[in-house]
Amino acid sequence: MAENESKKYRNTTIRNELGLHARSAARIAGIAQNSRANVWIQKNDEKADASSIIDILTLACAKGTKITIIVEDLADTHILNAIADLVDSGFGE
């Protein structure tokens, strides 16, 4: 997604059957933990710290939930894309 390369956010939808569960959240957190600044997952008005599995779980994202991944630093664009791609792929489930 070339047009997003210089953006600080990407919209995506949870595709995997079970929604964001502990294992999928752990994969997101694993990526987010390498970021320079904060990475957030936003659902409606709620925001969760993407580097925390538990915070992600408390967002209660079932299948079909629309979320936005947000990075605070443009240097973290590759992290933004890696997470959004992972969600897009349905975590390969």
Partner: protein, 587 residues
């Protein structure tokens, strides 16, 4: 020597993994963890307290690590333990506990308990049962830290050296991974559902399991003699001599039966006089196809499509539905897949559909009534089904048809879906067999009219019996009156079969009645072409059919229809086929 007469107690849970075991109970509990004391830490000792907490986390981590290294190969692809390791250091758990120790100057146990209780409350507030269950991962991880803080001796399941049946509130993935296959006969838990981790592990290990028993850890003490029947979901505590004998027999039968079925499940169900019945499977998820194939199913007789509509806020889109249907169709090809359109009802209703507040959902807006009311939802599914049909042998089945106009409208919707696919230039197949689910008595009465609109009938006995006899099976005052062999039910089935023969339709049965070995002679005699059941029941049904002769069964059915009571029919089955059935049945 007189034994104290212990009362036999029967618990009913959810059958999570098949098989029967009889043995001593072994309670896995976490004593010493529940009671947490609160005390204050002097300022200069706070750093030491934080260190004590971190050390406990480190030990918990080591514990998980060693379980991972020693876990049986069958469970290697299960990344849940790796997730638990990641959770140990999660900032919402680890970071905030450390913070609480420092800011509130309290002991580590109290700080951890406070943080975890808060998290659990957050999860509890979530409406969705699936999402709520996610708190269990956090609980398992914090329990492990807590044990290491308190210094409680852990229940080391790996060290159990007796042949026992594990009894637990809930078995964590870490605990189940440690189970030594050779030592554990089975396990039962208070919590969990059919798809819970415990059940999946038990199936992989091929040991019986019953979950969702609620009170197992209260009713059962270690060393109690218990029977676990993973086929029916029943657990019996302090079984009487008589019950023990009965279950020993069932256990032997089941094991023999299992050995036999693995040998002959792929043979076809052909009667001794050369009539072949198709024995099909009822499924809900594509994942079940593995067992359909293992058990020798001749196809999918009922693919329930509700699952994709549950556990979510919105409706699934066409691509999602198409993807799943195509997967099932391709995996089964060239065998047929019967896709039943959405049979959503009051209790299965999508969570956010709050207009579903019906006092009598069984008689309410459900199945085809719902779909005809929501043309967009219906069309999306019909398009997905027609597209999947291009990849194999698909049949479509409309549920709850009670009137002639309903099947006409359903077919019209199907035609419209086909036209729109044509316009969009997408590959699809319209020439598929159309079936009517016969589960409302009016459909039986109108069978001759409905027959003109369909290629096959599929009798859904669960609902048909409920509606015909006006019995709610969930109501314990009348549940005993729910009798598949009731003469009224048999006459309804006969009418559907007769009309089918006259009109040149095929007639199938896909309710629970079709899965019972004792019903086979009747169903064969009445002229069913195809039976569909849960995959596990297929091998037995095939075996029984192979032992029957159709001409005899037809004569038998004629006589059975003269009986005046369900009891009378049952006795006739026992008298005529008792020998064959007792030889072939494992129950």
């Amino acid at each position: 020597m007189s034994k104290p007469a212990l009362q036999e107690i029967i618990l009913k849970g959810i059958n999570a993994s098949p098989g029967i075991c009889i043995g001593k109970a072994y309670l896995v509990d976490k004593e010493g963890v529940d009671v947490v004391e609160k005390y204050y830490i002097k300022k200069k000792k706070l750093q030491a307290e934080v260190k004590r907490f971190k050390a406990a986390v480190k030990r918990a981590r080591d514990e998980f690590q060693s379980i991972i290294e020693n876990r049986p190969e069958e469970l290697e692809r299960d990344y849940i333990l790796e997730t638990h390791i990641a959770l140990l250091k999660d900032k919402m758990l680890y970071g905030r506990t450390v913070e609480t120790i420092q800011t509130e100057a309290v002991n580590a146990e109290w700080a951890l308990k406070k943080i975890v209780s808060g998290l659990i409350m957050t999860f509890e507030k979530m409406g969705d049962a699936y999402l709520k269950e996610r708190a269990s991962d956090v609980v398992h991880v914090s329990d492990c830290i807590m044990r290491n803080l308190v210094g409680a001796t852990t229940e080391n399941i790996a060290a159990i050296d007796k042949r026992v049946i594990l009894v637990a509130n809930d078995l964590s993935p870490a605990e189940t991974s440690q189970i030594n296959l050779a030592r554990i006969m089975g396990f039962i838990t208070n919590r969990g559902g059919k798809t819970s981790h415990t059940g999946i592990v038990a199936q992989a290990l091929e040991i019986p399991a019953v979950v969702g028993l609620e009170t197992a850890t209260i009713e059962i003490k270690s060393d109690d003699l218990i029977i676990v029947d993973g086929n029916t979901g029943i657990v019996i505590i302090h079984p009487s001599e008589q019950t023990l004998v009965e279950y020993e027999e069932r256990k032997i039968n089941y094991e023999e039966y299992k050995a036999v079925i693995t040998r002959e499940s792929h043979l076809s169900a052909e009667t001794t006089d050369g009539v072949r019945l198709e024995v099909m499977a009822n499924i809900e998820l594509p994942e079940e196809i593995v067992s359909v194939k293992n058990y020798g199913g001749d196809g999918i007789g009922l693919y329930r499509t509700e699952f994709q509509y549950m556990n979510r806020q919105d409706f699934p889109n066409e691509e999602e539905l198409f993807g799943k249907y195509r997967e099932v169709v391709e995996l089964m090809t060239p065998k047929p897949v019967t896709i039943r359109t959405l049979d959503i009802n009051g209790d299965k209703a999508v969570a956010n559909q709050s207009d579903f507040n019906e006092t009598n959902p069984a008689l309410g807006l459900r199945a085809i009534r719902y779909c005809l009311r929501k043309p967009d939802v219906f069309k999306t599914q019909l398009r997905a089904i027609l597209r999947a049909a291009a990849f194999g042998r698909v049949r479509i089945l409309f549920p709850m048809i009670a009137a002639y106009f309903e099947i006409c409208e359903a077919i019209k919707a199907l035609d419209e879906a086909a036209e729109s696919l044509e316009k969009d230039g997408l590959p699809y197949k319209r020439e598929i067999d159309i079936g009517i689910m016969v589960e409302v008595p009016s459909a039986v009465v109108l069978a001759d009219l409905l027959a003109d609109k369909a290629d096959f009938f599929s009798i859904g006995t669960n609902d048909l019996i409920q509606y015909a006899l006006a019995i709610d099976r969930g109501n314990r005052n009348v549940a005993h009156l729910y009798q598949p062999l009731d003469p009224a039910v048999l006459r309804l089935i006969k009418r559907v079969a007769d009309v089918s023969r006259e009109k040149g339709l095929e007639v199938f049965m896909c309710g629970e009645m079709a899965a019972s070995a004792q019903h086979m002679p009747l169903l064969l005699g009445l002229g069913m072409d195809e039976l569909s059941m849960n995959p596990q029941s297929i091998p037995q049904a095939k075996r029984v059919i192979r032992a029957l002769k159709r001409s005899d069964a037809q004569m038998f059915a004629r006589e059975a229809l003269k009986k005046k009571t369900a009891r009378g029919v049952f006795e006739m089955i026992q008298d005529t086929y008792g020998d064959i059935l007792s030889e072939l049945e494992y129950r």
